[in-house]
């Protein structure tokens, strides 16, 4: 009864006060917004507390909507929530399609390297040495790197970036100080390289046209700043510094607005590079799968009990678990036992191991489809086992195996897109990142589709030709002198 009353009161208050729906990505989102370790059902973080304070100041109830960082602007425009509060930075290209509030926090970027790496003491060293810098996709750090012509590697969340730094897959990571403090500062294997630099601002992102909402939010931000509420929040997270005081004065604060970095010719070069990586992964993985499938098939069909069990376990494991999970396991799990492969190689090996399980079954099916009498006929003609296999059995099995193998290759080709999860710059990753950076999902999407087709159509065409040739061989369209 008490509970019911509570619920009624709660919903009544919800009805009475309008809610401010705010979006942020809580995965790997510390210290901005993240699941509270003490109580995983609820969230915490400085942005979470700031959003609560802001809504209260506006006489509203804050309602948190978890979303995905990469597509956060698209989600805002789809009206999944009213505002973005997620360490969100104003940029030139975003300014074209949305409004920004006044800044509520000024941040800087921090470069991090491994403790024992003495080569790097500033971002300039990375450029000089040609060292790629890891960072989050589509943030001020990534834009700074793009603009400055640095090599960079994009990550979905800071955990993966710092883990790769520790494992030696990248040699430097550039991140907002807030993230750096939470994820890297206490790690004994890492150290900050140089001082924080490049002041940027966190603002609230608002839909274009919501000018009334923007006015109210701006007024609330100033009030929170002036009465020290903002300071209390950021002090609690150990992120307060005197630079923030400039936000109190009436003068507009000084901070950098990242420029729009996308232009089509550079975009096309990036996509082409991504397409080449996609092709490399697909062919490399297929090569591994086609070769490794042979011992698996032989082991499962003809091996001793132990070998048979091992092969079956392998095959069922790789067929029964998602390839995405397998890639993550190889990428983040293997370094624990001292094996650290670069992302692209992990994708080649992972997809290769996965598809080997499928190819082994194609082989078994194909060889079982050849009647055992074919062996006997070959033997009766004086052939030895190896010769009978090569001349009689294999060509027949190959014809059966080719169509399913072609199908598998096309699937594999599409499965290369799972490599986005391990920071490989392949075509699907490129699409997500470029489209998010420009909000041009349609334009870049069409170009990406053209790239995929340019690669898959010749493949399908060639496979079709090959099948036709084998087909013709057995139906004899080419043969002469027919009068059946």
């Amino acid at each position: 009864m008490f509970l019911c009353t509570l619920l009624v009161i709660h919903s009544l208050t919800a009805l009475a006060t309008p809610s401010l729906r705010w979006g942020a990505d809580p995965s790997g989102g510390a210290p901005y917004v993240f699941a509270d370790p003490a109580n995983p059902q609820s969230y915490t973080g400085f942005d979470y507390e700031f959003a609560e304070a802001l809504a209260r100041e506006m006489g509203m109830t804050a309602q948190f909507v978890p979303t995905d960082w990469e597509s956060i602007v698209a989600s805002l425009n789809r009206k999944e929530f009213d505002v973005i509060i997620n360490g969100f930075e104003p940029t030139e290209d975003r300014a074209r399609e949305m409004l920004f509030s006044k800044p509520y926090y000024l941040f800087r970027l921090q470069l991090t390297v491994r403790k024992n790496d003495t080569r790097i003491s500033s971002i300039a060293d990375c450029k000089k040495l040609g060292i790629p810098v890891g960072t989050l996709v589509n943030c001020s750090a990534s834009r700074l790197l793009d603009e400055g012509g640095y090599k960079s590697v994009g990550y979905q969340d800071p955990v993966g970036a710092y883990q790769d730094l520790e494992n030696g897959r990248v040699d430097a990571v550039l991140m907002d100080v807030a993230g750096e403090m939470f994820y890297a500062r206490k790690n004994p294997n890492l150290r900050p390289a140089g001082e924080p630099f490049n002041t940027g601002a966190y603002v609230v992102g608002i839909r274009k046209g919501d000018t009334e909402l923007k006015k109210r939010i701006d007024a609330a931000i100033v009030r929170l700043s002036d009465d020290g509420a903002t300071e209390r929040i950021f002090r609690k997270w150990d992120l307060w510094n005197d630079e923030q005081l400039t936000l109190r004065s009436a003068e507009p604060a000084k901070y950098e607005v990242a420029k729009s970095t996308f232009n089509w010719s550079e975009g096309l070069i990036k996509l082409t590079k991504a397409a080449l990586v996609t092709v490399l992964i697909a062919f490399g993985a297929m090569l591994i799968a086609v070769i490794l499938g042979i011992p698996l098939a032989l082991g499962q069909s003809n091996g001793g009990t132990a070998v048979k069990v091992l092969c079956t376990v392998y095959i069922e494991f790789f067929r029964g678990t998602p390839v995405l999970v397998q890639l993550l396991f190889l990428y983040f799990g293997l370094p624990v036992v001292g094996i650290t492969l670069p992302g692209w190689l992990t994708a080649v090996v992972g997809l290769g191991l996965n598809y080997a399980a499928y190819e082994s079954q194609v082989y078994r099916m194909a060889f079982e489809a050849v009647p055992s009498r074919q062996w006997q006929v070959a033997y009766s003609l004086g052939m030895r086992p190896v010769q009978a296999f090569r001349r009689i059995i294999f060509p027949q099995a190959f014809r059966t195996a080719l169509p399913p193998m072609t199908n598998d290759f096309v699937s594999l080709f599409k499965d290369t897109s799972t490599a986005f999860a391990i920071a490989v710059w392949e075509l699907a990753t490129a699409y997500r990142e470029l489209a998010n950076a420009t909000q041009s999902y349609l334009g870049i999407g069409l170009v990406v589709c053209c790239y995929y087709l340019a690669m898959s159509l010749p493949l399908a065409h060639y496979a079709h030709k090959l099948e036709q040739r084998l087909q013709r061989k057995s139906t004899g369209i080419l043969s002469s002198g027919s009068n059946t």
Binding site: R373, Q376, G382, M383, G481, S482, T484
Partner: protein, 247 residues
Amino acid sequence: MITIKGLTTTVQGTKLLNNVNLELKPGRILGIIGPSGNGKTTLLMCLCGLLPFENGTITVGGKTLRAEESGSRSETIWEFRKKSGIVFQHLHLFPHLTVLGNIIEAPVHVNRTPKAEAERQAIDLLAKLGIEQHRNKYPEELSGGEQQRVAILRALSMNPEVLLLDEPTSALDPIRSGDVRKLLQEFAASGHTVVIVSHSVRFLKGIADELAFMGKSEMIEMNSTQELLENPRDERTREFLSYSELN
């Protein structure tokens, strides 16, 4: 020339052949009759070295295979297999090779005969059977009778001492057509041996010089075709013949 002494074989716990003895001179065509499932095909498989046996010896064209060698991969068995050619009931042509390819496969790749020479010989034989115009076709484009001729030529391609045919009546019965019969008779007349297994007495009557009757896993009796059909000595032979007259 075929000599079988005390041949006994068991497959998966069932005794398929029990102390079978047989002697056949060169130049003869032997028909083996008997109800289905009495070991006729098993005997052929042993004769061409494709089925291991547990007792006895088989001598084909001067090459002897003993029981203990019959399941091994010793040199003996590879050599022994070359002495005979077999045509299976369902033919089992190589589907990925043309008619010509089926016939020259073994001469070219086992005997290292030059391809041109092997092709010339194959085309001569195809011409003899009137199917040389099909030489570049694939097996599935041929009629059953044409496929059977190709299978016979493939079995003869390695110049075996003995030709074995398993239930050839199932493939449109071309054995009785003049040119195939002539080919088999010529083959036998040149000092070779032909063994045909069939459940059809009517079919064997027209081609076999001698007939053997197989009862349950055993060789019951063997005689010239005429003698066996007119004066069968064993009760079981008589019973089978009286039944098969109805077919």
